[in-house]
Amino acid sequence: MPEFAPDPMTLAILLPLFGAIAAFLAPRAAPLIGLGAVGAMAAAIAAVGHAVAQAGTVTVPLGGWGAPLGIELRADGLALAMLGLTALIALAVGLGALSAFAGEAPADGQPMPRQRAFFWPLCLLLLTGMNGVYLSADLFNLYVMLEVISLAAVGLAVLGGTVAALRAGLAYMYASLLGALMVLLGVGFVYLQTGRLDFAGLAGAQGSPALSAAFALMLVGLALKAALFPLHFWLPEAHANATAPASALLSALVVKAGLYILLRLAEAGPFPGEAILTLLGVLGTGAVLWGGVQALRAERLKLLVAWSTVAQIGLIFVALARAGTEGLSDSWRAAALLILAHAVAKAGMFLAAGRIKDVIGHDRISELDRSAVRPALAQLAFALAAISLIGLPPSLGFIGKWSLMEGAMGAGNWHWIAVTMAGTLLSVAYFSRALTGFLRFDRVRAPLDEHRGWALADAPPVVLAGLAVGLGLAAGPILAVLDLGRPFGVTP
């Protein structure tokens, strides 16, 4: 796009990078720099949106070489939706982090508290990686971006510095690294077969053993990163033990990177056939059930929320694999809607859970109803987010589930509808454990103080959770955005 100088896609990736550098150099000004960088990134993304709305698909041949020699950035409706989602979540989590990490400002010469000093550089590096993933049209570049995300995400996961967080963080690091290396070897196999690294090269390739091996490797690697059952083992502890803003970023955005790349692979290549799709659906079912059961058994609120991520990811895989008569060219919309819905709701829910933990002083589910202090707004946000995650109307989660079930029904696959229903019932059961704790009062000894601690920190979770519910009404425009540039080569 020579008329832009420099083009907005590159800016969407590099602006957070500059922000990260600045925040690292000047820790004291980090929150200000961070929010500024996120704002600038959002502006760049808006410009990308403008270009995509005009042209459908836009590409930038970085270095002027063009594929296959150079790396191309590419944006279409799907990428745009993810970029917008990332900007939204980053803004909300950033605002939430302001108060979550606010403490006494250190005196001159004293080092900043660890969390305040390091949250922003890592968060901004994470955003660089996320945007890079959405916009990349090159397999090896995706691997590098995944590593940027991995390192930043691990840094965020261990920000709390507790033993539990560090243990979980190390397990996360190993899982993430192994997943990335599998992707790398998969990329090697692709190069062996096609001699190219860009998506376009995949599209033209004939099926072959080497390509099957490549897909198998990338599939397993990405499933590990996206925490698809039974490769989810690293997720619950890592997400539950991180500090709330970090958990929000990890669950809303980071796991989506793997899912997004899978979607892109499915779009570009001769994707493995029906049997693999069924396998994905079955594993997704396993995730829905196992995640649900574990969430029922979780003793802490944040762990419950983390297990629900496992279940919800499973549902997204079920949608991807099974929601449509036309296969992937149909089902990707349901998957995309569920990805967006889960991201917004889960970010709001983690921020709310963090706030509840801050106000009450713990997050043991069995003792939530003993507290005389009730963070009313955070609880409301939690409940709203739960509505969307359960999939009750008119939330975005409901729309996602609806399109999943509609597609499955069209294809006559009633068993996938049964899976969705079972997942819904399980999610009602586990979320109502928390909600009941919020609403029960007869175990409180001290006088109630429901409204103490209204603060700016309540705003981000409430807004996110409200959006998770309200965006269902905007499903039409969201789908219109997703279809820009006709991902998966189909006209709606």
Binding site: M1, P2, A5, P6, D7, T10, L11, L14, L17, F18, A20, I21, F24, L25, V60, P61, L62, G63, G64, W65, P68, L69, G70, I71, P111, R114, A117, F118, P121, L122, L125, T128, G132, F140, N141, V144, M145, E147, V148, L151, A152, V154, G155, V158, L159, L185, F189, L192, Q193, T194, G195, R196, L197, S208, P209, A210, S212, A213, A216, L217
Partner: protein, 319 residues
């Protein structure tokens, strides 16, 4: 030909054997040494595959620096010494059945991948023709450097970002960590270091310069300079202090910052990001390489040193 073939087979077998040995060594120190030797042999194999740049990078970074990092950590875990103390050296492996299942799974996967590899078409043309066509406009004459700093410069920028992310995370994780006795060098090595340091600096500069035309370049040069810094740390020629922190931060980011600024700066007037004007391509690439070399060297040294420099007196309050 047959002699070379036999050599290749032997070398490949040794590489695999060392990899297995790495996993089987009971003592952690022996494991790390086996890993380093494995890296050296792998580099030799890559030299046989006519990939000298990669071999250099592997020796310097993959085997060399990774090995140093592993050894330093082992020393930390063993309270300053590298030799095993009592039974704490290696934890017991998982039980036999689990190991068996793992071996079976990994073995099956490997066999499947091997079959797929053998089934892959031989001699599919890669991108070498494209590279050859574009070389005249790249600003450099060495193809690998052209790919790294021009054709796929975006990847390389992100690779430097990964390094930056690593050092940020390491600083964050190790903040307030108590000082452990870093393995100090004996007097003989002290003397060696005194001689080696200047030589290595010169070698690093040379590698950077030569990278434009021959194997070498920013990463190898950065690794060598990083190794210099590591030696400096070990021989106590360099003692990190809080006052160094801003300088260190600057050194970490300068490569990324300059690289990204140049990438954006060249955009406009019909050019996209990373599209250097042909006339200035060589200058810009050299500038980027120099800055990236500084960052790599500083970052690798910092990764070895671990935590951010902290004054001894403040350690307790910081914890």
């Amino acid at each position: 030909m047959t002699v070379l073939l036999a050599f290749d087979l032997l070398l490949a077998a040794s590489i695999v054997g060392l990899a297995a040995a790495t996993l089987l060594m009971r003592d952690a120190f022996a494991m790390i040494v086996a890993f380093i030797v494995f890296g050296m042999l792998m580099a030799l194999g890559w030299a046989r595959l006519v990939a000298p740049d990669v071999a250099l990078a592997e020796v310097a970074i993959g085997a060399g620096l990774s090995g140093a990092l592993l050894l330093r950590t082992l020393a930390h875990l063993r309270g300053g010494s590298l030799s095993a103390q009592g039974g704490a050296s290696v934890s017991a492996p998982a039980n036999g059945a689990t190991q068996g299942v793992n071996a079976l799974l990994a073995g099956l996967a490997t066999c499947a991948l091997g079959l797929a590899y053998l089934g892959a078409p031989q001699n599919v043309p890669g991108l070498e023709a494209h590279v050859a066509d574009a070389m005249p406009e790249s600003g450099v004459t060495h193809p690998v450097t052209a790919v790294l700093l021009n054709f796929r410069a975006y990847d390389t920028l992100m690779e430097v970002v990964v390094l930056l992310a690593a050092v940020i995370v390491v600083w964050q994780v190790e903040r307030g960590l108590a000082e452990t006795p870093a393995p100090a060098l004996g007097t003989v090595y002290q003397g060696f270091a005194r001689v080696a340091l200047p030589v290595a600096v010169i070698a690093g500069g040379y590698l950077l310069w030569i990278g434009a035309e021959a194997p070498g370049g920013a990463f190898q040069a950065g690794a060598v300079l990083g190794a210099v810094a590591v030696l400096g740390l070990l021989s106590r020629h360099v003692r990190p202090a809080p006052a160094h922190r801003p300088l260190a931060r600057g050194a970490f980011v300068v490569g990324t910052a300059v690289f990204a600024l140049v990438a954006l700066g060249v955009a406009g007037a019909g050019r996209v990001a990373f599209e250097y004007p042909p006339a200035q391509a060589k200058t810009l690439i050299l500038l980027i390489e120099a800055m990236v070399t500084i960052s790599i060297a500083a970052t690798l040294a910092a990764l070895f040193h671990g935590r951010a420099p902290v004054a001894v007196s403040r350690e307790e309050t910081d914890r």
